[in-house]
Amino acid sequence: MDNTQKDIILEVRDLSVSFDVYGSVSHVLDGISFKVKKRERVGLVGESGCGKTTTLKAVLNVLPKNAIVNRGEVLFEGLNVFKMSNAKLATMRRTGAGMIFQDPSSALNPVFNIEKQFITALKYAKPKNTPAQELHEIAIDALNSVMLPDQERIMKSFPLQLSGGMKQRACIAMTIAAGRQLILADEPGTSLDVTIQDQILRLINQLMLDKQLSVVMVSHSLGVIRESTDYVNIMYAGTIVESGKTDDVFHNSKHPYTLALMSCVPKLTGKGISKGIPGRMPDYMIPPQGCRFSPRCPYAQEICHTQKPPHLEISPGHWVSCYFAGEVT
Amino acid sequence: MEALKRNWYKFSESKISVVGLVLAVTFIFLAFFGKYLVPYPEHIGSYVDFTKTSLAPSSKYLCGTDVMGRDIFSRIIGSFRNTLMMGVIVLLISAPVGFIVGVIAGYHKGKPIDTILMRITDIFLSIPPLILALAIASVLEPNLTNSMLAVTVMWWPWYARLSYGVTSSLRTENYIIYAELAGAKLPHIIFKEILPNCLSAILTKMTLDMGYVIIMGATLSFAGMGEQAPKPALGSMISSGVKYMPAQWWFTIFPAIAIMLIVLGFNLLGDGISNMLGTEEI
C-alpha cells in the first residue's frame, strides 16, 4: 500500500464544488475522483460546461471567490491542498504543479518581454539567492528544450512579436523550468492551427518522457486525448462517467455517454456522424437527482433517475458509473 | 421578472448605491410634490415680510429666513422643480443629438463623414464648459430656458463620444455585418441593432450626468444667468447670500448642502446602475 501511495502524485477524492451565483447555488462538481501516478498521462475529456476547468482550478486551489467546496479532498503528494498553509501552497504552485493554458496570448503579460516574465517566475521557484546569471541560463536551457531556436532573441521579444505556437512553447518552458513534476494542460493546442497543435502535443509528450513528468490533459477533442494520454476520465455534467486505460475506454466504451460521444465524432474513414445527443446539459441549479446523464440516456430506467449510480469496475482498471454497464453496446 | 430580481440583487449589493437611490428618489418626489408639503408654500415666489427677516434656523423655520423674510427651507424645496426640469430637458435633448452624431460617425469609421463629425465634436469638447455656457447665456436673455439651451449645447458632445466608442466596437460584430449583407438600410441598423446595445451605457451616463448638469445650472444661476428673482434657484440663493457671510451663514450653507446631497445622490445611483448593467450577462 505504501509503495503505490508514494507512486501517486495527485489524488482527487470525491470532490464536490458548488458556486454561489447571485444568491442561488450552482452544483457543478459532484463527487469527482481520479488519481495520477508519477510519469503518467491522464486525460479529462468532456464537453463545455462539464466542469473540467473547475477541476483543474481546484487542484491548484485557485477557485473563484464564490466557490464552495462541499466535500472531498485534493491530495498533492499526499497533502490536501485545501488544508495546506499558505506557504506550503505557494511552494506547491511554484515547484510542484503548474498549468499550461489554452490561450497563450492571455497567459503572457503583453507589456513585459519574455525575459522579464521568465526570470520573475524562476526567481520564486529557485532558492533565494540564486544569481541572475544562473536564472538566465536555466531559462535559455528551458527554451531550448521546447525546440525554440534563437533563444536570446526570444527572451528579448514581447509576446506580440511571437506566433501562437512560439508563445505556447514559451509558456511550456516557463512551467517546466521551475522543476514542476505535475503539469495541468488545459486544452493546450485548441487555439492553434492543426499542424502547430500537432507539434505542441508531440513536444509535451517528449518532454514528459525526458523529464519524467506527470500530465493531466484536459480536452474536448477525443483525437487529442487518444494520442496524448495513457489513462482517461470521461466527464459529464460534473461527474466522471467512465475511466480507464485510454485504449480500453475508446475501443471498449461501456457508458452510454461515452458511446454517444464517440459516435458523434466525425471519422476520417467517412462513415458519417450521428445525429447528436438529444436534450441539453442539465441546469446546475437543479441538477438531476440520480445519474446526471439519465434525462438524455436512451437506456435510462427508473432507478437511474432517482439514485446515483455506483462506480463499478467492469474489467481491471476500467471503471464505469452506470447501473447497466456491460449491457449496453 | 427574473431579470428584475437579478438586477436588483446586483444593485443592492452595494449598500451605498441604495443610499443614492433614496436620495435621488426623494429629490424627484419633492420636485413634483414639494410645494404641497412645505410649511410655507407661499414663500416660494414673491412674498415679503420684513418682520421675519434674517431669522436664524429654528423649529419654526428649519433653515431660517432670508432677507425678505421668506422661509429658506420652503424655497429650497420649491427650487427643486426647476432644477429637475433643467436636468431632464438638457439630457433628453443632448443625449439623442449626441447619439445620432456619434453613431453615424462610428458606423462610417474611417470615412470623411467620421472625421468631420468627430472633429466638430472635438471642437466643442475643447472649449472650457463653463466659459462656453456663460458666453451663450450672456448673449441671450437671462432666464431658465436660455440657460438650459446653453448647457445643452455644451453637453451633447460627450454623448457623441460615448456612442462613437460603442458603435466602433460593434461595427465588426457578425450581426451587424449580416444586416448589411442582407440589405438592411442605415436607419434600421442604427436604431434597431446598434441603439439597444448602447442603451445601458447611455442611461448610466445620463444618471451620473444629472448631478453635473444641476451643478452647471446652479453655477449659471449663481452668475446671474438663470432663473431670476423672485423665483427660487439654488445658485442664486447662494450668490445673494455670500455677502452676508459669516453672520447669516444659513443663507448660503443650506442651499449648498442641498446641491451637495442631490449631486451625491445621483452619483451614487449612477455608480450602482453601472455596476448593475455593466455585469449583465451577454
Binding site: 492543426v194 474536448h220 487518444r226 475501443h251 | 455585418i177
Partner: protein, 342 residues
C-alpha cells in the same frame, strides 16, 4: 446535367495596410460550385478561406478576377449587388456569440431578412419565421427568446434559419461548428445536411477540421497562403493526397480510432511556422516547410494540373515530365513514403 451556379476565376484579394505592406490574402484562386453539392474549403490561418467567403457574400470587392453567379459577374459589386443576389447567397458565421444581436429576440432577428426581401404583412412574417424555426428543428417557442438563453448549437441553427429566409441557392458556411462541442456539432451538421437534400442547396463549407470535411463535402479544395494547393473529390482527396501540404495536414490531425490512424499518411512531421501573408515566399508558397523542395520551387510558382479526372494539384512535383515518377511513388502503399530529413 447539374447546373454550375458559381464560377470563380483567378480571384485575387489584396489588402493594403496602413504601414504600406500588401497582404495577399487571396492570390489567384479558381473554384466551381454546382447546384446541390458541397464544396469543402480547407486551410489554416492565413490561407484566405474566410476572405473568399467574404468576397462571395459581398463584404469585400475582389481586387481582380471574376465571380460568375448564375450568369452575372459579382466580383466587384460588393454591397451594391441586387437585392435578389443578396438573398441568393447567404452566410453562416463561425462565432455563435456575435451572429445574433443579443438585445433582440430570435423572432425579430429572423424577421429581418423577411422585412427586407418580401413585402408581406407582419402576421405572415411571424408565420414564416416559425416555419423557419421548424425547418431547422427548433421549437416555435424560441421566437420570443433572447440569444443568451440559447446554447451555441441552437444559436447556429437560428443563424441557419435566418439564412434560409431568403430562399438562397448558395450557403456559405464559415466554420459553422468550430466553436461547438462535438455532440452539438453532430446535431447541427446532420440538420444542415438534411436541409441541403430537402432544398437542393449548394454549400461552400469552410473548415480546418478535416475529419468533419470527410463526412460533409463532395469535393475538397485546400488552400495555403491564398493559393490553391490541391482539389479533388472527397474520397480521393483523403485516400490519395498528392500535395505535400495536404499530406502534412492529414498526418497532423488527431484521430480517435486506430482505424483512422491507419488511414493517415505516414508521419510527415509538421515543421516550421506558417509565414505571414504579408511575406509570402517567392516561388511556391509552401517551400519553407516542404520536405520535397526542389530548386525550381524557390523560383517559380507552380500551376494547377489535372493529374486524374477531377483531381487537380498545384506543385512542381507534378509538372509533366516528373509526373510519371512521382505518380508511381504516390500509388505505392502508404508505408513506403518515408519522411526526408530536413
Amino acid at each position: 446535367m447539374v447546373e454550375k451556379i458559381l464560377d470563380i476565376k483567378n480571384l485575387k484579394k489584396y489588402f493594403l495596410l496602413t504601414n504600406g505592406q500588401l497582404v495577399k490574402a487571396v492570390d489567384g484562386v479558381d473554384l466551381e460550385i454546382f447546384e446541390g453539392e458541397t464544396l469543402g474549403l480547407v486551410g489554416e490561418s492565413g490561407s484566405g478561406k474566410s476572405t473568399i467567403a467574404y468576397v462571395l457574400v459581398g463584404m469585400y470587392e475582389a481586387t481582380d478576377g471574376d465571380i460568375i453567379y448564375k450568369g452575372d459577374n459579382i466580383a466587384k459589386t460588393g454591397l451594391r449587388r441586387t437585392l435578389k443576389q443578396k438573398g441568393e447567397i447567404q452566410i453562416i458565421f463561425q462565432d455563435p456569440g456575435s451572429s445574433l444581436n443579443s438585445k433582440r429576440t430570435v423572432g425579430k432577428s429572423l424577421m429581418l431578412p423577411l422585412q427586407i426581401h418580401h413585402r408581406i404583412s407582419k402576421s405572415d412574417m411571424e408565420k414564416r419565421a416559425r416555419e423557419l424555426l421548424e425547418w431547422v428543428g427548433l421549437p416555435a417557442e424560441f421566437m420570443d427568446k433572447y440569444p443568451r438563453t440559447l446554447g451555441g448549437g441552437e444559436r447556429q441553427l437560428v443563424s441557419g434559419a435566418r439564412a434560409l429566409a431568403t430562399n438562397p441557392s448558395l450557403m456559405i458556411l464559415d466554420e459553422p461548428t468550430s466553436a461547438l462541442d462535438v455532440s452539438v456539432q453532430a446535431k447541427v451538421i446532420s440538420r444542415l445536411i438534411d436541409l441541403q437534400k430537402e432544398l437542393n442547396l449548394a454549400y461552400l463549407f469552410i473548415t480546418h477540421d478535416l475529419s468533419l470535411m470527410r463526412n460533409v463535402a463532395n469535393r475538397v479544395a485546400i488552400l495555403y497562403l491564398g493559393r490553391l494547393c490541391e482539389q479533388a473529390p472527397t474520397a480521393e482527396f483523403f485516400e490519395k493526397p498528392l500535395h505535400p501540404y495536404t499530406q502534412m495536414l492529414l498526418s497532423s490531425i488527431p484521430v480517435a480510432t486506430a482505424e483512422e490512424e491507419e488511414m493517415k499518411p505516414v508521419k510527415i512531421l509538421s515543421t516550421g511556422e506558417i509565414p505571414s501573408p504579408v511575406n509570402v515566399p517567392l516561388g511556391c508558397a509552401f517551400n519553407t516547410r516542404c520536405r520535397d523542395k526542389m530548386p525550381i520551387c524557390m523560383k517559380e510558382r507552380p500551376t494547377m494540373k489535372e493529374v486524374s479526372p477531377g483531381h487537380f494539384v498545384c506543385c512542381h512535383l507534378f509538372n509533366d515530365n516528373t509526373y510519371t515518377r512521382i505518380k508511381a511513388a504516390a500509388q505505392a502503399p502508404a508505408g513506403e513514403l518515408q519522411p526526408k530529413q530536413q
